[in-house]
Every structure is written in C-alpha cells, then in structure tokens.
C-alpha cells in the first residue's frame, strides 16, 4: 500500500479565526492506481493534495506514506522524501524563469543524493515527453502545452513512486490538455501511480477511480465506469 489515510483533519488558524477544511478523511491508495480527487473549489481537494504530497501536515489523524508515518518526520526528512518519492505537476507550471528547459528538469536531481549523469537523465525524460528538441530553449520561448510537459518531465526525472497533478490542464487549450492527459494515462500504464486533482468531471473520468469531495468530506469513492481514453484529435471539454 502506497498511501493510507486515517481520520485526517486539517484546520487553519488566522488571527484567532479557525477554519476547518478537512473533517476526518480515511482511504487507501495502492501502487499503480490512477486516482482523481474531484470537487468544487473550497471542497478541500487542494488541501488534501498538499498533505498527501508532504507539502503540508495534517492537524489530526494519521498518514502513512510507503508505510512510513509521516507525522514522525521532520521538515528535512519530508523534503528528502518529496525529492525521492513524489513528483508534482502544477496548474501554473511553476517553471523557473530565465532558465533552460533542461536545467528546469535537472532541478530535482540537484537536490537528490545521486548526482551522476544529470544531463543524460534529464534529457531522457524530456525525450520521453517529446521535448528532445527543446532542451536549450528558455521557458519563455515554449508554448503552454510544452511547459506542462516540461513540468511532467521534471516530476518524473527522479523516478518517483507517485505523481501529483494539480489541475494540470487548467491553464491549457483543449488540444494541449488532451496531450497532457494522454501522457498521464500512458505513465499509469507503465506502472506509475498518478493522483489527479481537478474540478472537472470530464477530466476526472480519465482516471480509474474518483474520490469526490464536498465541504471537506468524501462524498463518494468509486471506480470510473466509462473511462475516457485521451488521444490526439480529442478535445477536453
């Protein structure tokens, strides 16, 4: 089991004002799954993703990642775990400006222990996402779809256990969006665990399982019946 969550709570405090966002969530995710966490804005799905992605801590409850209780980890341990086991794809791409495509993809490697053949490893994943011809381009010289593919390459470069994709198609035109979903599905077929966060049902239906959230609670958690398979020519609605 890759992820096990028990009675997860999260609340934020701001100047004495307490906002409860997650109200006791429990679920498991196995290795190799493709899960969509779906819900309207304010449902707590991004907060959940931040906790699952070890970017934030739960206020209450247990979270086991690869059988480790992450509550026992300090910030630096969490950073190392993120580096080795987790890849992120963000809605806003979050690429470094004034930096080449290759250097952006190399970035996680510079924080990992194994610093051999950085260039080759980064090149290989860029070729896998079809950007072998853009290595020396700066991030402001490529299209939005290409930026997101760079972000995917960056997420994959350390061969993580799980990739978190937070609204990965949100800032893209429909054609690029399809390409991204196609890549994510292909990665899943190759054995990668993918956790997709989205507010769109259509996008979520590209996953194999949907955890639907509303007001900080799980509304439903079931497999996708008519799974969408993305391929070029389709358009994401």
């Amino acid at each position: 089991m890759l992820i096990k969550v028990e009675n997860l709570h999260k609340q934020f405090e701001n100047e004495g004002l307490v906002t409860k966002v997650l109200h006791g969530l429990s679920f498991d995710i196995e290795e190799g799954e493709f899960v969509a966490i779906m819900g309207p804005s304010g449902s707590g799905k991004s907060t959940l993703m931040h906790i699952l992605g070890l970017l934030d801590r739960a206020s209450e409850g247990n979270y086991f990642f690869a059988k480790n209780n992450v509550n026992e980890f300090d910030d630096n341990n969490l950073a190392a775990l993120r580096n080795q086991k987790i890849g992120f794809v963000f809605q806003a791409f979050n690429l470094l400006p004034r930096t080449t495509v290759l250097d952006n993809v190399k970035l996680p490697l510079t924080y990992s222990k194994d610093k051999n053949n950085l260039d080759e490893r980064a090149k290989r994943v860029l070729e896998d996402v079809g950007l072998g011809h853009r290595l020396d381009y700066f991030t402001n010289q490529i299209s939005g779809g290409e930026k997101q593919r760079v972000a995917i390459a960056r997420a994959l470069v350390n061969k993580p256990s799980v990739v978190f994709a937070d609204e990965p198609t949100g800032n893209l035109d429909s054609k690029s969006g399809v390409q991204i979903m196609e890549i994510l599905q292909k990665l899943n077929e190759l054995g990668n665990t993918i956790i997709l966060v989205t507010h769109e049902t259509y996008t979520a239906e590209h996953a194999k399982r949907i955890i639907a959230m509303c007001d900080g609670l799980i509304e439903s958690d079931k497999p996708v019946q008519n799974r969408k398979i993305a391929h070029d020519g389709d358009k994401l609605k």
Binding site: G53, R82, F88, L96, T110, K115
Partner: protein, 417 residues
C-alpha cells in the same frame, strides 16, 4: 554539493543580470568601500616609499637640532612655523668641537628666509639660506662651477652668494653667472658658485635656493642673532645615539639647563630615523582613519545588500516554494541565498579592486608628473583582504534574508501571489 553550488551561482548570476540597474546600485556601496580600501593601501604604500626614498637621499646619518622643546614622537614647535630664538651660531660652534661631540664629521647651521633676487632686469623670488661652510659635507651637494664660500667669508659679513640650479637659470638664463653681481634686498652680492642640479630631497627643492654665509644672512638680511636649525653628519650610523646624547649635554651646559630629563630643554635633537618614525606614525594614523571610513562604507553597502536580498526573497517566494516541493531542504535554500549575496559582494569587490587600482595608478602618474618619485604598488595582501572583506560582508548581511527564505513553508510559499 558541487553541482548545487554551480546551480546556485548560475541562479545568482541570472537573477543579477535580470536586474542590471538594481544589481549595480546594490553593489555600489561595496564597490566604493573596496575601491577605497585598495586606493588607501596603495596610496599609503606609495607615500611611505616616497618618504623613505626622500629621507634616504638625504642620508640616514643626519641628525638635526631645532630650537624649542617638543614631546617624544611629536613634531618640534619650530616645525609648525613658530619662531623660536634659543639656538645660536655659537651653539653650532660648540657642537662642532670634537671635545664636545666627537662622532660627527661636520656640522652646518642655518638661518632661513625668502628674498627677491635681481640681476639686471630679471627678478626671482627664492628661498635664501644663510649657512656655515659645513653645508657641502653635511648636505652632500656638488658645485657645477665656481667655489663655495670660505670659513673667513662665513664670519666677516662677506657679500658672496652661491646659486641653486633653478635660481641661476631663472636669473641668468644661458648667461654666465660667475663673477656677476646680483641684488638681494638692496645689498649687492657677488655670485661665486653655482650648485649642480639635485632635485627634491627630503621634500626640499635643493635647486630653488641661494646660499650665503650665515653671518651675512643674520646681520645684513634678517637682522637677527638666532639660527633656525643645525644639522650634523654622524661618522657611523651606530654612533647616532651617542651623538644625540653628546649634543644634548653640550647644549644643556651652554643654556644653563640642569634638568637632564629633557623636560626643560629649549631645543630638540632628532635623528633622521626618528623623524621618519614620526612621519610613519602620522601617515599610519591617517591610513587608519581612512580605512575606518572605508569600513563604514562597507557596512552601509552591506545593509544595502541585505535590503535587496530581503526584497529578492519576497519576490521569489513562489520559486522557493517550488524548490522546496522538489526536495530542497532548509540548508539548500539557505546556501542558495547566501551564495547569491556573496556573489553580489564578490563581483562588487572585484569591480572595487579594479577601480581602486586604476585610481591609485592615476595618482602615481600625476605624482610622477609633478616630479615625485612615486611608486605604484597594489599589494596582493590588500587584494586578498578586499576579497575576504567583501565575502564576509556578503555572508554577514546575507544570513538574515537567507534564513528567512529557508524558513518558508513550502505550501505557503507555493500559494503566495
């Protein structure tokens, strides 16, 4: 480690190049501070070598007697332009006696002034020195033509004069000077000799003087009885202290001073080495003062660095969040921002070193043009010191912003708009 340092330096330089104007203004404090350090150290070295060369050209075997008392290591009051009348011609005669001061080869007494010299229609304002015949031996000058005045002429108020190289040229041009008569304050003097060109020695232009017998100067020109200075040449350098002691005893006896501590002396005896020490003390004090000002500039520059690094941390909050999400730990972020601030100060330091060296070089050119034997010298030590100091400034003033950056929580940093 190496890869992440390389990455940090790369990140730092791209961030710097992205804001060229801001980066330059940020560095300016460091540039000025480091430039000032380099310049001051170079000027100090140049001035010191100049003074050394000047004193050495005079000869380190010289001892001087000035009228008036002075504290240890302090300049004598007469050096400040105060006229003191306690030293006389007879003092010089007494000091010249081997029974009083055995270890000197010769002695010269001076009576100084300025006067307008006239020859036909030519006028020239020159320094006028009444002196004793020991002048040539003690000061080490040479005659280009003619002769120096004799012991007899020294005392019998003879109206003879020996011209320095510049004075001869200004008054006579290419004309023959020997045997001509020139006017000095209504007195007519016969030119009996012309000195060879000598230049600046111990900050005194030996070519721009006219020499005449001391008694003639005292009675006919100035109307005084005192002498302004006595100089003597010591036979061997190791006898200098003995000579100083002998001179003090002789003068105290002549001036009826029983106190041997020196507190009641009405004269000051100094060797060239002591004078050099004194000058070094003064230039050192000046150097430290200027270095302190440079240090203030570096501190101000450092605060500028800190300010801009804090702005940079805020501007790049999302980037910090991203780096943390990708696995950067606190130390990674801390070192990245420290390397950035050190890069800024090191580049500023380099520019400062180059700028300071160029200025020091210009000063050397100007000083040489003005006739001083000024050596341009930027020491490796001062360069290393400047680099070390700029690095320290980057580290010290970069720590707080870097620490702030390293403490950011990844999720808050990623959410930052």
């Amino acid at each position: 480690m190496f890869e992440s340092i390389k990455q940090s330096i790369h990140t730092a330089t791209t961030a710097l190049l992205a804001n060229k104007g801001r980066s330059f203004l940020t560095m300016l404090g460091i540039i000025i501070g480091v430039g000032a350090v380099i310049l001051i150290v170079a000027l100090g070295a140049g001035a010191q070598s100049l003074i050394l060369a000047q004193v050495e050209s005079l000869g380190s075997n010289i001892v001087g007697v000035l009228p008036g008392n002075s504290g240890k290591d302090k300049p004598p009051s007469s050096a400040m332009g105060i006229v003191i009348t306690t030293l006389t011609y007879d003092d010089a005669i007494a000091l010249a006696k081997p029974s009083n001061v055995p270890n000197i080869t010769d002695i010269v007494a001076y009576s100084d002034g300025n006067a307008n010299l006239e020859w036909r229609r030519n006028n020239y304002q020159s320094s006028l020195k009444g002196c004793t015949v020991g002048y040539l031996e003690v000061e080490g000058g040479e005659l280009a033509e003619g002769r120096f005045f004799t012991k007899n002429e020294e005392t019998n108020l003879s109206r003879v004069i020996v011209l320095g190289h510049t004075v001869k040229r200004e008054l006579f041009g290419d004309s023959h000077a020997l045997g001509q008569r020139i006017k000095v304050q209504k007195n007519s003097f016969e030119v009996i000799g012309v000195m060879a060109e000598r230049g600046m020695v111990a900050f005194q232009d030996y070519d721009n003087i006219a020499l005449l017998p001391i008694k003639t100067m005292q009675k006919r020109i100035l109307g005084v009885n005192y002498v302004s200075m006595i100089r003597a040449k010591v036979d061997l350098a190791e006898n200098t202290d003995q000579v100083l002691a002998d001179m003090k005893i002789t003068l105290r006896e002549r001036h009826d001073i029983s106190d041997q501590s020196g507190a009641n002396d009405d004269f000051t005896v100094r060797s060239a080495a002591q004078a050099l020490d004194m000058i070094t003390t003064i230039t050192d004090a000046l150097k430290y003062f200027l270095a302190a000002m440079a240090a203030i500039s570096l501190i101000v520059g450092g605060i500028g660095i800190m300010n801009i690094m804090l702005v940079s941390v805020t501007e790049r909050t999302r980037e910090i969040g991203l780096r943390k999400a990708l696995g950067a730990n606190k130390l990674n972020i801390l070192s990245q921002f420290l390397i950035e601030s050190v890069t800024v100060t090191m580049i500023g330091g380099l520019i400062g070193i180059i700028g300071g060296a160029i200025l020091a070089y210009l000063v050397a050119i100007i000083a040489n043009y003005l006739g001083y034997d000024w050596v341009f010298h930027v020491s490796l030590f001062s360069i290393l010191l400047a680099m070390a100091v700029s690095m320290m400034v980057g580290l010290i003033f970069g720590v707080f912003p870097a620490y702030k950056a390293s403490r950011l929580q990844p999720v808050e940093a990623l959410r930052y708009e």
